[in-house]
């Protein structure tokens, strides 16, 4: 077959959401020739779906806010499992990252004195989220996109070519990170429209691919969220951490079925919305856990007073961190106090005037009106938990965003682990993207610039990556041996054979496999977990993995969604196993990991990170054999929190999280 086209870059960024675009801007501004590769059109990444805002302690609405308070809230939200240095950098740098957006043309909602307005959100002590109505993600992505365009305009003026220093390969997918020895040498990719393969040669690759939600049936995530970056890192030899922590956002739409899982922004609660069960009771007052008792109102009256007088009242428990609210809703429904379609009621209609609702929550008004025939200014919404975010991801160095063990590999945003610990606070994602996107891009550029020789791309790896990507066009036979076409066979390049060999079992539909995977993860590794169910999940994932090798594809390579999904299945299966294995191993409940059989938080687990790595990095045996897992776990102890950061908390609070011996260190 013809050799994939190759081009040379200093930095390749995989993903064009908030983290990827911010990384690309930083890399390009550091002087690196930068390529961005993204599955969707430029400007369509999942970041556009972020609604509530960007958390940054600018103190515009309550001057009491500062980075220390933000740091404290973030650690509490993550139940102290956070990689504390990341939480520190994040809290310190978020305001600069938000202000910088204004210099690139972003238009946030304003305070009466003309500053950036900030709204309340779950787990944040002060109004902290910079926002634009409830479409903040769109503003973020558009601002970054337009900043990239203006950099390209600059390059055009200087070099005569828009893409001489910064190019976006849109609607393209990376399937492998290539390596020269231990080091990154580039990425193997295909273009979705033509189906052609190409290689981006680069000493630095920044993963910014987002999350894994499409492995679950009920999710707020878009189709792109197939864990690509997580899988690329694993396959390149970089470990993942905290994969057992998956955030189920408490409020997703539940009716009609076709929109089940679609996000209902936390701003609804931040702006005054309340949760009620079918008996009309504001049930969240019954679910304030011990660790948060000091910070949340004990009565509806106190909670209601807080909106106008936050200094002498405590916040209502509807604004607890997401994990707490999601579990509470789950319990109410289980106890038979759920709404007609199996959720609870979220009501703003009795709390705000229709005009205020439409101004502050325009997308929510529109979404319910258009998709569910519900007028949220007049009636309550029905909501329930939906898979929203993965706290786990690539283990990275806090300062540089460099992946552990693979020089040249970086990760930022949702695909990186550690920052949010066991549970992310709302609003901390967009700020995470900006803070660590910038760091990843700058460090990736610096690393590329520091090398005296470029790592070489190995032809054998390119051929193997091409064969792997073509496998779905020639589904495997029943004996379990792969029948990958030779790279130079005609079938590999031209529109290939439509049907598998007649003696083989029928090819599997990638769509069916995907649905079964989603059902498995949803039912067995979902919001409430039990050992037997997760063991069952691992068995099913093994079977699905074996069947996925027979995932067949009809048609040819030009814009073929069946083929694209067949390739994404590899990633979702790898990630699904990481989640199930780590969740089975962690015998406690903390943040986004709730064990029915281990319901308490265990201080001994606080300092333990579970690292996921490939069990059999060299071979394909594990992948082919349903009995064997692909993922091996190791326990790693995390470094103690720096004393000056611990000193930001009262001792009485710390004893709820830290083990006895940690006080003596």
């Amino acid at each position: 077959m013809t050799q994939p086209e190759r081009s040379q870059w200093d930095v390749v960024v995989v993903g064009a959401g908030g983290a990827g675009l911010r990384a690309a801007i930083a890399a390009r501004e550091s002087g690196a020739r930068t390529a961005v590769i993204c599955k969707s059109l430029f400007g369509k990444a999942h970041t556009v779906m972020a609604e509530g805002g960007i958390a940054a302690s600018m103190g515009n609405v309550n001057a009491g806010d500062n980075w220390q308070v933000h740091f404290r809230d973030t650690m509490r939200g993550g139940k102290f499992l956070n990689q504390w240095r990341m939480a520190e950098l994040h809290a310190k740098e978020a305001p600069e990252r938000v202000w910088e957006l204004e210099t690139w043309g972003a238009l946030f909602d304003r305070t009466p004195d003309g500053r950036i307005s900030q709204r309340n959100f779950g787990g944040h002590q002060f109004p902290r989220l910079a926002h634009v109505g409830d479409r903040t993600g769109l503003e973020l992505i558009r601002t970054l996109q337009q900043k990239i365009v203006s950099l390209q305009q600059e390059d055009f003026r200087e070099t005569g070519a828009y893409e001489s220093r910064l190019r976006v390969f849109q609607e393209c997918t990376a399937t492998r990170v290539l390596k020269d020895g231990d080091r990154v040498s580039g990425a193997f990719c295909y273009a979705r429209d033509s189906g052609d393969f190409f290689v981006l040669e680069a000493p630095s690759v920044v993963l910014a691919t987002g999350g894994i939600g499409k492995s679950f049936k009920v999710t707020s995530n878009s189709w792109e969220y197939t864990g690509d970056g997580h899988a690329l890192a694993l396959l390149a030899g970089a470990p993942l951490i905290n994969m057992e922590f998956v955030q189920f956002h408490p409020t997703g739409m539940i009716w009609p079925p076709s929109v089940k899982g679609l996000l209902v922004t936390e701003s609804v609660r931040g702006d005054g919305g309340v949760l009620r069960n079918t008996e009309g009771k504001r049930f969240m007052f019954d679910y304030v856990p011990d660790v948060f008792k000091e910070q949340y109102a004990e009565s509806e009256e106190e909670g209601d007073r807080w909106y106008d007088d936050p200094d002498t009242n405590r916040r209502p428990p509807e604004l607890l961190p997401r994990d707490e609210v999601a579990r509470a809703i789950n319990s109410e429904v289980k106890a038979g106090r759920g709404s007609p379609h199996g959720g609870v009621f979220l009501d703003v209609s009795t709390r705000m005037s229709p005009e205020v609702i439409k101004r502050r929550l325009p997308s929510m008004y529109h979404q319910f009106k258009e998709l569910a025939d519900v007028d949220i200014t007049a009636e309550a919404m029905e909501v329930g938990p939906t898979c929203h975010y993965v706290m786990g991801g690539v283990a990275v160095d806090s300062d540089s965003a460099a992946a552990l063990g693979v020089p040249g590999l970086f990760a930022a945003g949702e695909v990186a682990g550690g920052m949010h610990g066991s549970n992310r606070l709302g609003g901390n994602s967009l700020s995470d993207l900006l803070v660590f996107g910038r760091r990843a891009g700058a460090h990736a550029a610096a690393y590329a610039g520091s090398l005296t020789a470029r790592p070489a791309v190995d032809d054998v790896q390119v051929d193997e990556a091409a064969a792997e990507a073509l496998r779905p066009f020639s589904a495997e036979d029943g004996a379990g041996t792969p029948s990958v076409p030779a790279p130079d066979s005609p079938g590999a390049q031209a529109p290939p054979a439509q049907a598998p060999p007649t003696e083989a079992p029928p090819a599997e539909s990638p769509y069916t496999l995907h649905q079964e995977l989603q059902q498995t993860m949803n039912d067995l590794v979902g919001i409430i977990r039990r050992a037997e169910e997760m063991e069952e999940a691992l068995v099913r994932l093994g079977e699905l993995r074996a069947r996925a090798r027979r995932a067949g594809v009809a048609g040819h390579r030009r814009f073929n969604p069946g083929w694209h999904l067949a390739l994404d299945l590899r990633n979702m299966l790898l990630v699904g196993e990481c989640v199930a294995r780590a969740a089975l191993e962690r015998t406690e409940s903390r943040g986004g990991h709730t064990r029915e059989d281990w319901p308490s938080m265990d201080a001994a687990w606080r300092r333990v990170n579970l690292h996921c790595a490939l069990a059999d990095p060299a071979g394909t045996l594990a992948a082919a054999d349903p009995e064997r897992g692909q993922i091996a776990l190791t326990r790693r102890e995390t470094p103690p929190v720096r004393p000056d950061l611990l000193a930001l908390f009262e001792k009485e609070e710390l004893v709820k999280y830290l083990a006895e011996e940690e006080f003596h260190e």
């Binding site: 400007g43 556009v48 779906m49 600018m58 238009l107 390209q152 009809a554 030009r558 969604p561």
Partner: protein
């Protein structure tokens, strides 16, 4: 489009008739499908069901399925729409739905078109020019002054307006000189940004709207506004004011000068 007889009917599923355009740059045609429809579904759900059960390689572009990303634009019974926001209850159960790709852009495959025209036009509009001497963190703007540009920034770049605008829909030859409603609106957005310092940098956005982005081609038929899924008043709030401002600039130097002085006054306030 017919009225909603389906909405009042029972919640049970039914079988709908779909005609979907399949093909590529070399040609193609409408293919018939009979496909199950369930309660609350939108056209994109049905396209996905066709994909999962009958035509696994049916090409369709989509992303959020929530009306937020603007990816799944297509023409349903000839009307440009987001498939994810077009409910099946908008149509009678016995009506055959015809789904075709956007007409103004070249087909790549099936329902997916080559929208690179829009990215080229985006590059021709110079970006926000930050006000000199105002540090990050020192920007001060009143909500009433950002309201106008914020409306335009609601744009999800679905390109339905670009596809619908008759200046280019059936006139390929106009594409070179005409940026289209979306990018004229972008010029208006920047021109109305309270702190944009383009003028100080020697860039006259109103003149370029007229001379470089083809504002004069627009004869305010409001087709763009009609199809905007975000309900942005593109014509009334962006294009007509931009035309007025361009005209002021052209014919009335005093008005122009006055507006500049007022704008400068507003922009120098920030440090306060």
């Amino acid at each position: 489009m017919s009225t909603s007889t389906g909405a009042a009917a029972s919640a049970t599923s039914y079988e709908a008739r779909f005609r979907v355009w399949r093909g590529d740059a070399d040609g193609g045609g409408l293919h018939d499908f009979r496909v199950e429809v369930n309660d609350g579904e939108v056209v994109l759900d049905i396209i996905h069901r066709i994909q999962a059960t009958q035509a696994p390689d049916l090409a369709v572009r989509w992303n959020c399925k929530a009306g937020k990303c603007g990816s799944c634009s297509a023409e349903v019974n000839g009307r440009p729409r987001l498939m994810c926001m077009t409910r099946m209850t908008d149509f009678a159960r016995d009506e055959t739905l015809t789904v075709t790709p956007l007409r103004a852009f070249p087909v790549l495959r099936d329902l997916v078109t080559d929208v690179s025209f829009n990215y080229e036009k985006a590059r021709e509009v110079p970006g926000f020019v930050p006000p000199p001497g105002v540090a990050a963190g020192e920007y001060r703007m009143d909500q009433v002054d950002v309201d106008r540009s914020q409306e335009f920034r609601k744009c999800i770049e679905c390109y339905l307006c670009q596809n619908t605008c008759h200046v280019v829909r059936d006139h390929e030859e106009n594409k070179t000189a005409f940026a289209g409603p979306r990018f004229l609106m972008r010029v208006a957005e920047l021109d109305m940004h309270p702190l944009d310092a383009a003028a100080q940098a020697g860039l006259d956005r109103r003149r370029t709207a007229q001379e470089e982005h083809g504002l004069g081609y627009c004869n305010i038929t409001k087709c763009c506004t009609d199809v905007c899924p975000e309900g942005i008043k593109i014509t009334d709030n962006a294009l007509i004011p931009l035309k007025e401002r361009a005209a002021d600039r052209k014919y009335d130097p005093l008005v122009w000068l006055g507006s500049k002085i007022r704008r400068r006054g507003a922009a120098s306030g920030p440090g306060a």
